[in-house]
C-alpha cells in the first residue's frame, strides 16, 4: 500500500480531495453570506420591529436552533424536488427532477446559520454605546446614513468574534450536504474510500483537510479581529 502513489501518483486521489475541500469552503462561504443577509433582517426585526415581527423572528431562531440540521437539508431537498417534479410534469417532463445540490446546500446552511447570526448581530447592536446613536441623530443624520456610518461598521466589529464561531459551525455542518450528493470534501472522501477499499486512509485524510480549513480560517478571523480593534483601547 503506497500512500504516495495512492494520492499523488497518476490518477491519484489528492486532486479530487482538494477540489472537494475548495467546494466545502465555497459552500460554507456562500451559506454564511446568505445567512448574513437573513440574519441581519432577523436581528433588525427583533431589535426594532413591531410585536408580530418580533415574535416571528423569535420563533424562527428558536425553531432553527432546536431542530437538527439534517432535517432542514432533507426538507429542502425532498420538498424542493417534489415541487420541481410536479412543475416539470405540468409542462410535459416525466419522472423525478432533483434539486441542484449546491443550491440546496447553500440555502440550508444559510437558513440555519441565519438563526445563529441573528443572535450575534443583536448582541453586537446592543453593545453599541447609546450616546453615539443619539449624537448621530443630533447631528441630523437620517436612519440610512446613520446605519452606514455609525451602526454597520461598529456592529460588524463587535460581531466578529461571534461570526468566527458561526463560520466554524457552518464549515463543519457543510459535511452534512454530502447526504444529498454534492461532492464536497466529505463526499469526495466517501468516493475514494468506496473505490479503493481503504476507508480509514481517506477519512483520515479528509479529517486533516478539515482541520487545515478550520484552523487557517480561525487564524484569519483572529487577525481580522486584531486589525479591526486597533483604533480601540482594550481592557
Amino acid at each position: 500500500m503506497d500512500l504516495y502513489e495512492l494520492f499523488l501518483g497518476s490518477g491519484g486521489w489528492a486532486r479530487l480531495l482538494c477540489q472537494g475541500a475548495l467546494l466545502t469552503v465555497a459552500v460554507a462561504a456562500v451559506g454564511l453570506l446568505i445567512g448574513a443577509a437573513l440574519g441581519i433582517a432577523l436581528a433588525f426585526a427583533r431589535v426594532s420591529g413591531g410585536l408580530p415581527l418580533r415574535l416571528m423572528a423569535d420563533a424562527y431562531t428558536t425553531v432553527l436552533r432546536g431542530v437538527p440540521d439534517l432535517l432542514v437539508i432533507y426538507l429542502l431537498y425532498f420538498g424542493g424536488s417534489s415541487l420541481l417534479s410536479s412543475l416539470g410534469n405540468a409542462v410535459g417532463a416525466t419522472g423525478f427532477i432533483g434539486m441542484p445540490s449546491f443550491a440546496t446546500g447553500v440555502v440550508a446552511l444559510g437558513l440555519v446559520s441565519a438563526a445563529y447570526q441573528a443572535e450575534v448581530y443583536r448582541g453586537a447592536y446592543q453593545a453599541l454605546p447609546w450616546g453615539e446613536l443619539e449624537a448621530a441623530r443630533a447631528c441630523g443624520m437620517r436612519p440610512a446614513l446613520m446605519f452606514r456610518r455609525v451602526i454597520a461598521p461598529q456592529v460588524l466589529r463587535h460581531a466578529l468574534p461571534g461570526l468566527a464561531n458561526v463560520w466554524q459551525l457552518v464549515v463543519k455542518e457543510s459535511a452534512l450536504i454530502s447526504v444529498i450528493g454534492l461532492v464536497e470534501l466529505m463526499r469526495a472522501s466517501q468516493l475514494g474510500a468506496g473505490s479503493t477499499r481503504m476507508p480509514f486512509v481517506f477519512y483520515a485524510a479528509a479529517l486533516c483537510l478539515y482541520l487545515v480549513i478550520t484552523s487557517v480560517s480561525g487564524y484569519l478571523f483572529l487577525w481580522a479581529e486584531s486589525v479591526s480593534f486597533k483604533p480601540y483601547r482594550r481592557a
Binding site: P68, L71, Y74, S82, Q168, V179, M186, P199, F202, Y203
Partner: protein, 230 residues
C-alpha cells in the same frame, strides 16, 4: 390539512424517540467522564498529558462530527483482522456502539473546555481557604473545586446537551433508525416532506424545551445561597 396523515406520521416518528434518548443519554454520560479526564489532564501540570488533551480537543472540535462517525464506523473496518484478533470487532461492527463512541468522544472534547472554564473560574480564595483548613488535593477537588465549577459551568453545559440531542440525528447516516432516520425514510416513501419535517421538528423542539427547563431547575436548585440573599 390532512390530520390523519399528520397523526400517523407523528406516531411513526415517536417510535424513534427511545433510540434518540438512548443515544443522547449514554453518550453524554460517557462523554462527561471523558471531559472531566481531559479537563484534569489540561490542569495537571504534566506537559505530556496537557498537550495530548489539547491536541485531542483541537482535532475533535475542528472537524465535522459526520467524518468522526465515518472514521470510526467505516474507517476502522479497514483493520478488521487486527480488531478481530483483539476481540474489539464485536463492538466496532455495531452501528449503535460506533455512534455512541463517536458522539461521546465528540462531546468529551467540547465538554472538557466547558469544565476547564468552570474550574478556572473557581475563586482562588476558596482554594486557599481549603488548603488552610488542611484539605488534601483530592478532597479539595471533590468538596470545593468540582461543586463550584459545576455550578459555574452548568449554563454552558446546557447548550452542549441541546447540541447532543441534535447530534444524535447523524446516527441515521449509519443506518440507525432514530427520529431523523425514520423521518428521512418516511419522506422518501411519501414525498410529503413538509408534514414529516413539522412532526419530527416538533418532537425535537419539545425535547429540547424540556431539557432547558430541567437545566434551569438544576441551576435553581444548586444556587441555594444566592436564593437566600435575593
Amino acid at each position: 390539512m390532512d390530520f390523519a396523515f399528520l397523526s400517523e406520521t407523528f406516531t411513526a416518528l415517536l417510535a424513534g424517540l427511545p433510540l434518540t434518548l438512548n443515544l443522547a443519554l449514554t453518550s453524554t454520560v460517557i462523554g462527561l467522564i471523558g471531559a472531566m479526564a481531559l479537563a484534569l489532564s489540561r490542569q495537571s501540570g504534566v506537559a505530556l498529558l496537557a498537550y495530548t488533551a489539547k491536541a485531542y480537543v483541537f482535532v475533535f472540535r475542528g472537524t465535522p462530527l459526520l467524518i468522526q462517525i465515518f472514521l470510526i464506523y467505516y474507517g476502522l473496518g479497514q483493520f478488521r483482522p487486527t480488531l478481530q484478533e483483539w476481540g474489539l470487532w464485536g463492538v466496532l461492527r455495531s452501528s449503535y456502539w460506533c455512534a455512541i463512541i463517536a458522539l461521546a468522544m465528540n462531546t468529551a472534547a467540547y465538554g472538557s473546555e466547558i469544565i476547564r472554564g468552570g474550574i478556572a473560574a473557581v475563586p482562588h480564595g476558596a482554594i486557599e481557604a481549603a488548603q488552610a483548613c488542611g484539605m488534601g488535593p483530592v478532597l479539595r477537588l471533590r468538596r470545593i473545586v468540582f461543586p463550584l465549577a459545576l455550578r459555574i459551568a452548568l449554563p454552558a453545559y446546557g447548550n452542549e446537551l441541546i447540541l447532543m440531542v441534535k447530534a444524535t440525528s447523524l446516527a441515521s447516516v449509519i443506518t440507525l433508525m432514530e427520529i431523523t432516520g425514520l423521518a428521512s425514510k418516511l419522506i422518501s416513501q411519501t414525498y410529503r416532506s413538509v408534514e414529516v419535517f413539522a412532526c419530527a421538528g416538533l418532537i425535537y423542539l419539545v425535547l429540547n424545551f424540556l431539557l432547558t427547563r430541567m437545566v434551569h431547575a438544576l441551576e435553581w436548585k444548586l444556587s441555594t445561597e444566592r436564593r437566600r440573599t435575593a
